[in-house]
Subunit: 125 residues, 4 copies
C-alpha cells in the first residue's frame, strides 16, 4: 500500500477508507487508474475493516474476493471503502466499494466487490 | 419461481423484492431454506431489478453472480432484494441481498451477492 | 436435490458428478434448464466433492460461490462436476462445471464456477 | 505490468502466461508476494488471453473477476496463466491460475480465479 502511495483516511469499527492519489505508478497513459491498483486498495480496505473487529494477537487473510469494474477510474484520487457485512468467529464478509473523486468534489462509484476473510491466530515468528 | 412458490412483492425502478414462503419443497429437515432456493430468488430479484430499467423488446440474461451464504436461512419466509448498482447499455450490475424473516417481524441478512447481467434484444420466436 | 430429480453419478476422492434430467420443474418454456437448477447442482457437486475428503463427524457448508452462465442450458440432461482445487483443514475450494448433454452424446460446457466451503464438526442434534 | 516487473512468457490463441519475479516492490517482509500483485497478473493474463482471440481494432476490458487466494505466494517468481473458457462476440470468460515457482522447479497453485471480459471497438483518440 505504501508502495502505491495509498493511505488510510478513516478507521472505524467495521469500516475503513483508503485513499490513493493519481500518480504515474498507478495510472495508465490516459490518466485512468489501473484495475490492479483499484482492486488492491479495495482488497486492503476490506482487510483492514475486518481487522478492526478482531481481538488482539490475530491476523486477517483474504480468502477470496470478487470485484466488478463498473466505470473507468478517472479522477484526482480513488477512495476505497471496506465495510463488514458479517463478522464471524472464523470468517468475515465485507462489501468493497471504490469511488473516483475529482478535485471539484464529484465522486463516482467505479468498482464494487465482495470479499471473504479468515481470522488466524498470530504465531511467534 | 412460481414452481418454488415465490412471488414479486415490490417492483420499483432498479429495485425488486421477491418473497419465498417456507415450504417442504424449499427447506431441509430442520426448517432451513436450501442454498439453492436462496440463490435462485436472489438471482431472480437481480434479473427483474435490471429489467425494470430496460427498454421494450429487450430481455435480460444473467452473465454471472457471486453469493455469500452468511447465516443459516431459517424463518417464516425469505425476502430477496435486487438493486441495480450500475445500469449500462449492454451490462448491468446488481447487488443481491436475502433476508430471513420471522412472523414476529425480525429480519436477518442471510446471503449477500453481486450479479452481472446482459441486455439482449428480443427476437421473434 | 431429490426434489429436483438430481442424482449422484460419480463419487471419487475430490470429484463428484451430479446428473439432472430435463423435467418441467427445472426447465423453462423453450426447454432450457433454469439458471437456478444449473446453479443448485453445481453448488451441490462442489459440496459433495469437498465432503469426500473430510473426516468422519464433519459437515460441509458453502461459504460462497461464483458462477458464470456461459451458454443456454439446453439438453437431455445436465451434468455438474465438482472438483476440489485445494483442501485445507478449515476451507476447501472447488471448481464447478456444468455440461448440457444431448441424447446423441454431444456435451457442452454451459456454466463454470468457483466455490469456497467450510468444514464444521457435526454436533449431536 | 512493466511497473511491477512482469513480462509475458507465453502467448498462444486463448492462453497467455505472465511471469513476475520476486522484488521488494511486490513482496512483503517475509518474502511473500502481495495479494495485489498476485491478482494483478492474474487479471492481466486473462485479459491478454481474451485479446488473442479478438479481431483487429478492438480492445478488451475486465468486467469483473473473482479470485481465491489458496496458499501463501512464496517463491522465486509467480506465473499467472489466463485461459479462455468461452469466447463470445461480446463477452469472454477466462480461467485464471497463479503458480508460485521455486528455483528448484517446484510449482504450486497459489490462486485460482474466474473472469468476465468485454470486447469494445477501438475508437480514434
Amino acid at each position: 500500500m505504501a508502495h502505491l502511495g495509498a493511505r488510510l483516511t478513516r478507521i472505524a469499527p467495521g469500516v475503513v477508507h483508503i485513499a490513493l492519489p493519481a500518480r504515474p505508478e498507478v495510472t495508465q497513459q490516459h490518466g485512468y487508474f489501473h484495475a490492479g491498483a483499484t482492486s488492491s486498495i479495495a482488497d486492503s480496505a476490506g482487510g483492514y475493516a475486518a481487522f478492526t473487529l478482531f481481538p488482539e494477537n490475530t491476523e486477517v487473510l483474504t480468502v477470496e474476493y470478487k470485484i466488478n469494474l463498473l466505470a473507468p477510474a478517472l479522477g484526482d484520487h480513488l477512495e476505497a471503502v471496506g465495510t463488514v457485512l458479517r463478522a464471524g468467529r472464523t470468517l468475515t464478509v465485507c462489501q468493497l466499494e471504490v469511488f473516483a473523486a475529482q478535485e471539484n468534489g464529484t465522486r463516482k462509484l467505479v468498482a464494487n466487490g465482495q470479499q471473504t476473510l479468515i481470522r488466524v491466530n498470530r504465531t511467534a515468528q
